[in-house]
């Protein structure tokens, strides 16, 4: 009981910052640059860890609660999902709702912390964050319904269980659509291109990055770390869905899972390199289109 939990947490905590590193490297490679070293996110975190704080005199304790919730939630949520073939350490019937709502809690506090600074800029980011997630949430639930229909339980452990390999043979169409939908939701929720641009802080078009503009020092580090963890946790779902192999050997399973996560990071890097950010009014349309795709996937499984 304790050992798998420890392994789960260690994997998450130590592997997650590598993913943004891989994404940046891929983008640099596409642009013909050398780019920052792969391990740069680790160094960044270490640097921020050592720094001090700067607070605005407008802020209250809510401003400090934002990063705390943003860091704790992905860690807890990771305990509910399987990492590749490794089972989830904590699983019960209906934990899929808890998984979704935990991220809702994180969103609440991140957006509230943004409003706490009293800056119109961060208010803008908060609006966009909560608005777009309203449109992304139904997609997630539709995707989960499709997966639940193909499985035999209501725990994420069952939904992403070993039956997926079989299901790909008979139900490839809905599963393929679900993968696309989850990938898009992952891009939205982790504020990647084409929905958001994580690299520019100072444009009026950004979402997540403007919300965390006034954080500094270890708090900023917690936010960066939290978003890396979130990327890995959400990525784990997509990876498990696309590579549903159970070899029975721990090291091979691990290798498949981590390899999948790295491939996913490279894929995100490629998407970010070849696509431009969508215009703001297009994003809701895109998200509603994604929801309709997931509805279509559900219709295919209902027949």
């Amino acid at each position: 009981m304790l050992l798998p939990l420890l392994l789960h947490l260690l994997l998450l905590l130590f592997f997650a910052p590598l993913m943004p590193g891989v994404i940046t490297k891929t983008k640099a490679w596409f642009a013909g640059r050398v780019g920052a070293p792969l391990l740069q996110p680790y160094w960044d975190l270490l640097r921020l860890w050592k720094k001090g704080f700067v607070f605005s005199r407008t802020t209250t304790w809510v401003f400090r609660a934002g990063p705390v919730v943003g860091l704790v939630i992905p860690i807890l949520a990771s305990l509910l999902i399987p990492f590749g073939a490794m089972p989830a350490p904590f699983s019960f019937s209906g934990d899929l709702i808890l998984f979704v709502y935990l991220f809702g809690l994180a969103r609440f506090f991140t957006a509230a912390a943004a409003l706490d600074t009293g800056s119109s800029f961060e208010g803008m980011g908060a609006v966009r964050e909560v608005t777009f997630s309203c449109l992304a949430e139904p997609t997630v639930l539709f995707a989960l319904i499709v997966l639940a229909r193909l499985s035999d339980g209501l725990a994420l452990q069952n939904l992403f269980g070993r039956h997926l390999a079989q299901a790909w043979l008979t139900m490839s169409a809905p599963l393929g659509l679900v993968v696309v939908c989850l990938l898009i939701v992952m891009l939205v929720e982790n504020s990647r291109i084409p929905f958001d641009d994580p690299n520019t802080h100072l444009e009026l078009t950004m979402i997540h990055e403007v919300m965390v503009l006034d954080h500094s020092g270890p708090a900023l580090g917690m936010i960066l770390y939290g978003s890396a963890l979130k990327l890995m946790v959400m990525g784990a779902l997509v990876v498990r869905l696309t590579l549903p192999f159970d070899t029975g050997m721990l090291w091979l399973d691990l290798l498949i899972f981590l390899g999948g996560e790295l491939l996913l990071a490279i894929l995100i890097g490629v998407i970010e390199s070849i696509m431009a950010r969508l215009r703001m009014p297009r994003i809701p349309q895109m998200l509603i289109g994604t929801t309709l795709l997931s509805v279509f996937a559900l219709v295919l499984t209902l027949r």
């Binding site: 001090g52 704080f53 700067v54 607070f55 605005s56 005199r57 407008t58 802020t59 209250t60 809510v62 400090r64 609660a65 704790v72 807890l76 904590f90 019960f92 019937s93 209906g94 934990d95 709702i97 808890l98 709502y101 809702g104 809690l105 969103r107 609440f108 957006a111 509230a112 943004a114 409003l115 706490d116 009293g118 800056s119 119109s120 800029f121 208010g123 803008m124 908060a126 609006v127 909560v130 608005t131 997630s133 309203c134 992304a136 949430e137 139904p138 997630v140 639930l141 539709f142 319904i145 639940a148 229909r149 209501l154 503009l213 270890p218 708090a219 917690m222 929801t291 209902l302 027949r303």
Partner: protein, 655 residues
């Protein structure tokens, strides 16, 4: 005898305002006495409910009655208990809160009437919840409606309050009319006006169901029938709004559940109707809430949303009975009932803290607030707790009930035929309602409590008095209790479901068992947050002196540049413009050096202000025209009417 204790509670509640009426206007003695009586009533009532639950069997009392249509019958069963428990808690805390919020010396005109009607509302509600006779039920129902009307019009000098009260009176009496018809039909079926036992009525009952849905739906505020709700809850004093919104509208849900429990067979379309109405109420309730900038109107629309969530659970349970899925019945109804309790708690908490805001600043306009967490730290904390709970986020109670409803709806996911599995479409709807609620409460909490004060009033805001804070604290603790110890209510819920519909007891224990783990998750979440938060707090102790927030490159940033409630909601309001029809005035900026511009937006209620009032005023105009034609003062014409009437009567009576 538990029912006796509850009867005493009802009497104590109902009479709690009477001594105050006889005492002096300016003295505080009447207020104190009435609060003590409400408190005593709550304690006696809770004692009765707990005794009844412990004994396991329902406790009843009957006596002959001179009114036609059966005997005077009272009974307490688990279904009534679910509605009674939050009632006792919230009314007691509300009385405490009222001491600080509406003190007799500040309101010599209205204070005594407010207290009298407050007690009457509580007493009549207890009566109707334990009544087992149609006449007695309607008696309680009418008393409740009238007490509610006087609570809404407490500030009679205010024209908004009078208008809201009038609309409420019209709506509630339309509903009562439907209920009169419903109870007569029911009486014709069973032969007496006493309530039949659960599951004993083997008729189709289409008309009964439709009348019940209409009559109880008006009270509950299901979407197209919600017209009275936003205005009324905004106009009443905050603790009265809290009990109106948190407790009174639930009697509609209670009535619907009580009536549906009579039938042996439930046709599927009943469940579908309730489910669809629930989805509409949920989505549009919260969409309207986002568009509001009056804090109490906003909270009132959230009541519509939460009634929608409850209706989703009830609809699921009805469908579970039609399609014989016991887990769906159990989880759907248990979720709906728990949400009834939860909404009573967190909505009252939110109205209480909104009252603290009004107490501190004297305005209900969200755009006038700002930066109040520094000035009202405790009220802000309580509001935050209520906001997290109403959004259905862990670790508070809202999550538990929404989780149960979700899980119930998910029961149809594997291997059910097509029409049944369409129930699944309610799940993403519920998810969207949740996400919209998060958006709305981020807006309210952020704009109200965070940032810089936007007006003079909120700059000089002050914390609420102790009695108000104590009332809020009690509610927050109960919210957290249900969220962290959800198993403590599981036996009550499952026995309530059993008293509504007899499902096989074998399916009772399994589906509810993960509640323990959900509670554990809440504890883990809370302790992790506390740990990391404590660490960050320690680390930030030696931070240098605070600086001002970066002004986005603007040289003279002012609090007016912050995002307001309207601008925060604008994106979502525009997404929902097909149902909201917001009015927007001005805002167009022209030229290179634009002059000062004004922009305002306003979202009236679509059903009331755009549909009902125009059509009624159109009808009034039409009738006026007709009256002008037939009632024109010529004597000959009136004689013609007499002649015509005689002829018509003669022809009608001829064989």
């Amino acid at each position: 005898m538990p029912i006796l204790w509850i009867g005493i509670a009802s009497l104590l509640f109902g009479l709690s305002g009477v001594p105050g009426l006889c005492l002096r206007r300016n003295g505080g003695g009447g207020a104190l006495l009435s609060s003590l009586m409400v408190l005593a009533g709550s304690i006696s009532g809770s004692f009765g409910v707990i005794r009844a639950l412990q004994s396991g069997s329902s406790s009843a009392w009957q006596s002959p009655w001179s009114v036609p249509g059966g005997r005077l019958a009272l009974e307490i069963d688990p279904l009534s208990s679910v509605f009674l428990l939050p009632l006792f808690l919230v009314f007691a805390l509300g009385a405490l809160y009222g001491h600080g919020y509406w003190p007799q010396r500040d309101h010599p005109e209205s204070g005594r009437g407010l207290r009298f009607n407050y007690g009457l509302l509580a007493g009549s509600m207890v009566l109707l919840l334990v009544a087992r006779n149609g006449v007695l039920f309607l008696l309680g129902w009418e008393l409740m409606a009238l007490a509610g009307f006087f609570l809404i019009t407490t500030e009679q000098e205010n024209s908004d309050a009078r208008r809201a009260g009038f609309i409420y009176l019209c709506a509630t009496h339309t509903g009562t009319l439907a209920l009169f018809a419903m109870f007569s039909l029911l009486g014709a079926e069973t032969g007496s006006l006493a309530f039949p036992l659960a599951g004993t009525l083997a008729t189709s009952g289409t008309a009964i169901f439709l009348l019940a849905l209409g009559g109880f739906g008006v009270k509950a505020g299901i979407m197209p029938l919600h017209i009275w709700l936003p205005g009324a809850h905004a106009a009443a004093p905050s603790h009265a709004s809290a009990v109106l919104s948190g407790i009174m509208i639930k009697t509609g849900i209670y009535g619907l559940l009580r009536v549906t429990s009579f039938f042996t067979e439930i046709p599927p379309w009943w469940g579908w109707t309730v489910l669809i109405l629930g989805a509409i109420s949920g989505i549009f309730g919260v969409a309207f809430a986002i568009a509001q900038h009056d804090i109490k109107r906003l909270l009132a629309y959230h009541s519509v949303e939460n009634i929608g969530i409850i209706a989703l659970g009830v609809g699921g349970a009805l469908l579970g009975r039609s399609y014989h899925i016991p887990q769906l019945v159990l989880l759907g109804l248990a979720g709906a009932l728990l949400h009834v309790i939860n909404h009573g708690l967190f909505k009252s908490l939110l109205f209480f803290s909104a009252g603290a805001l009004i107490h501190a600043t004297g305005t209900r306009e969200i755009d006038q607030y700002g930066g109040l967490l520094r000035r009202l730290p405790w009220s802000g904390l309580f509001f935050l707790g209520g906001a997290v709970a109403i959004c259905g986020l862990p670790p508070f109670n809202g999550f538990i009930s929404e989780w149960l409803i979700y899980l119930g709806l998910f029961q149809t996911v594997q291997g059910s035929p097509l029409p049944v599995s369409l129930i699944l479409l309610a799940i993403p709807t519920l998810a969207m309602i949740g996400a919209l609620a998060v958006a709305c409460f981020v807006k309210v909490f952020g704009v109200t409590f965070l940032g810089e004060p936007r007006s003079e009033q909120s700059l000089h805001g002050h914390e609420a008095p102790k009695s108000m804070l104590l009332g809020m604290a009690g509610l927050l603790v109960s919210c957290a209790w249900i969220g962290l110890f959800p198993t403590s209510l599981a036996p009550l819920l499952s026995s309530a479901v059993l008293s509504w519909s007899s499902i096989p007891t074998a399916s009772l224990s399994g589906p509810l068992s993960p509640l323990l783990l959900v509670g554990v998750c809440g504890w883990v979440l809370l302790s992790c947050l506390a740990l990391v938060g404590f660490w960050l707090w320690r680390r930030s102790q030696n931070a240098p002196d605070p600086v001002s927030t970066w002004g986005c490159g603007f040289s003279f940033p002012s609090p007016r540049m912050q995002y307001t409630a309207s601008s925060f909601g604008d994106f979502l309001v525009r997404l929902f413009r097909f149902g909201l029809w917001s009015e927007r005035h001005g805002g167009r900026v022209e030229g290179v050096f634009p002059a000062a511009r004004e922009f305002s937006s306003h979202t009236p209620d679509t059903v009331l202000d755009r549909l009902l009032l125009p059509s009624t005023s159109g009808a009034a105009w039409l009738f006026q025209r007709i009256r002008g034609l037939v009632h024109n003062g010529r004597v000959g014409l009136y004689l013609l009417y007499v002649l015509l009437a005689v002829v018509v009567l003669l022809t009608a009576t001829l064989p």
